[in-house]
Chain length 141, copies 4
């Protein structure tokens, strides 16, 4: 599980930790970073010029086939955190996105990745549609 160094453009999504995201250890529950990664790739795609909502409305999903997360430091309620997101790899049928969650001082809290393949709404795997490939090529230079 290696995290690539960011090559292309990086999006930054900043928000405060919700109380509902903490657990009895007093810190953010480890499952809660996956929804944060999702915020990250939503923002990355919006910046790239094709929102995931639009992409979905075209009849596709970028379904998650693998995820990996390394936890270095905890985040706590009301902390200001930033998810840094970049495209790590593109293939004909899928892509990998990498993430870094940093605290207000810029210290790395969590790193991770998600791998996706493209499927239609009935679940059939397909090649990445041209509209997505072009968006990625135009943006991720």
């Amino acid at each position: 599980m290696n995290y690539a160094s960011p090559a292309g453009p990086i999006s930054e999504s900043t928000f405060r930790v919700r109380y509902a995201e903490t657990d009895a250890m007093g810190i953010v529950h480890h499952s809660r970073y996956l929804p944060w990664f999702e915020i990250g790739r939503t923002d990355w795609m919006r910046q790239a010029g094709l929102t995931y909502a639009e992409f979905e409305a075209m009849g596709f999903y970028l379904t998650v086939v693998e995820a990996g997360i390394r936890y270095q430091k905890p985040a706590r309620y009301d902390d200001l955190v930033t998810v840094r997101t970049w495209l790590a790899e593109v293939r004909s049928r899928g892509l990998r996105i990498d993430y870094e969650v940093v605290g207000a001082q810029g210290d790395v809290l969590v790193t991770g990745f998600t791998r996706h393949i493209c499927i239609t709404h009935d679940g059939t795997p397909v090649r990445l549609p041209e509209v997505l490939v072009q968006t990625l090529e135009r943006y991720n230079v």
Copy 2:
């Protein structure tokens, strides 16, 4: 916000509190009882003879239009809790379900209700379908 005394059959759903359901206060987060109520009504409908999954597959949803919850005692990680569920009211276009969450000693932790109306999958409100009304009448005596 009154909770009716149970009249008809009561279902009981028993499970352990998940760590992910706790918050930094060391107790179950107050939002987590709504998914528990949902477990309760899933079990109640299964007992009544028509699962909600089947009902949904027929083209309907029982969408939630109102919910109320009173918190009396906290639940904690690994506690064995039971959701007691009963049908409180049926009208031509909707119904109300009441809930009680009790601890392992039978002490009441939380009470609540949800009101539902029936809609089709495109969001149109409709009367409760005959299949549901008959199921409720047959069961809730």
Copy 3:
């Protein structure tokens, strides 16, 4: 369950709906509004001049003893929503906060309230501490 018309200052918290907040109906799951209300009161208290994190660090919790929610219109993934929050009632031992979730066009999606009492970290109910009462009096005029 009545929702008071806002009297004092109203905070507005705006954010996008996360994919993880949706359910198989394609809309935001009804339990997800309680964490949004929590964002609302976090922001309201910050505006009032005493963050809830600071208040908690003083040894107190504003624990939720009751919640009520009315669902009028659904919110969907990537929608821009705003939680409007105001103080509805203050008593010696507790308070009520009211909320309105509105969509990007200002249409009301959900209304609700939470009632809170003040407890110490070991769970003992206490009067609202002077620091909180003064903050509320200074702000909520």
Copy 4:
């Protein structure tokens, strides 16, 4: 990210998918498997003879430092799923647990692992306490 073949005892935790665990794709949201893994290790430890709640009450946490998940098939609302859990590795300061989520027909839906280190409640990393090591040695043969 390799998943070891189970060597020692395997616990099985069976439950139904909650509606609140689904997302707008109509399937279980990919973040929801981490809380399921947590149910798995809670049950595994209970079977081993030391509940995680007891272990925590002794002043320790097994905090998650890494997690990996591979998604093979989706789970849906009301599906009966089983989390199979086993101890994959023990070291002086940590351990790895592996998981397999299977459907009602025994088909593998998801595989994954979590790595943990032992810390005290103030966050200091420590060697696995004797009580835990002995429990694991006695059980995991």
